[in-house]
């Protein structure tokens, strides 16, 4: 169930960030606050962007930062953050980004079901649009509740 990972504790709306690194820093901090990952994981996600570019902006307006689990993941988890203003994430044809979903995985299998639901959500333009425009956390939760 997507709500196991994306819920009141791990969703934030309308967060201000001055650039893509700060956006990942803030979305990653949610993972750290919830004990899902360590600060080193936030650094690794940012480094991934520096080394590999903006490939993790997977669909128009949505970035899915992630890094290898050895970089500091404690348990499988996700965080979701909508940005106050759209930000360009390095270079990507899917820029600018309005929605950041950080992914923390422990191996290649535990998170597959949740990833499948996330993929379903990302493939639904209307749902993605609704989440991007949400003013409050519960609006986001309502949209994501379809994916269970």
């Amino acid at each position: 169930m997507l709500s196991e990972y994306l819920n009141e504790k791990t969703i934030r709306t309308n967060i201000a960030a001055s650039d893509w690194k700060e956006a990942i820093q803030k979305a990653g901090q949610i993972l750290v606050d919830e004990g899902i990952a360590e600060n080193t994981y936030i650094e690794a996600m940012i480094e991934n962007g520096e080394v590999n570019g903006g490939y993790f902006v997977l669909v128009p307006g949505v970035a899915v930062p992630h890094a290898k689990s050895e970089a500091g993941v404690n348990k499988v988890g996700m965080s979701l953050m909508t940005l106050k203003e759209p930000i360009n994430f390095i270079t990507s044809p899917n820029n600018p980004v309005k929605l950041v979903i950080c992914l923390a995985a422990t191996d290649n299998n535990t998170h597959i079901d949740a990833l499948k639901l996330l993929a379903d959500f990302l493939g639904d333009e209307d749902s993605v649009c609704q989440v991007m425009q949400a003013k409050e956390r519960k609006e986001v939760i309502n949209v994501l509740n379809q994916y269970n």
Binding site: N52, G53, L58, V59, H66, N108, L115, A119, L122, G123
Partner: protein
């Protein structure tokens, strides 16, 4: 036929890509294809018949001379389907 979805880590975006490549293959009625995920390092050793990935990785692996599907939107199944159809018809 082996299709390899490539990304930097092999655990996030490539998995989402694999799910959508499998959906595209289902729509095309292709039953004998195997879809795997790999990072750029292991992609070379995986002996793929087709590579599916985003621009920068396709560019990095261009010297492998393997047909490539370069995706922009990871969830655009129709696009993946059309590209695979074209490759498979050759």
């Amino acid at each position: 036929m082996k299709i390899v979805c490539v990304c930097a880590m092999g655990l996030g975006s490539s998995l989402i890509l694999r799910m959508n490549v499998e959906k595209a293959l289902e729509r095309l009625g292709v039953k004998d294809a195997k879809v795997e995920v790999a990072d750029t390092g292991s992609a070379r050793g995986a002996n793929p018949d087709v590579i599916v990935s985003s621009h920068s990785f396709c560019e990095e692996l261009a010297d492998m001379n393997v047909p490539m599907v370069e995706v922009v939107n990871y969830t655009d199944i129709a696009y993946i389907e059309a590209e695979l159809k074209e490759i498979l018809s050759k």
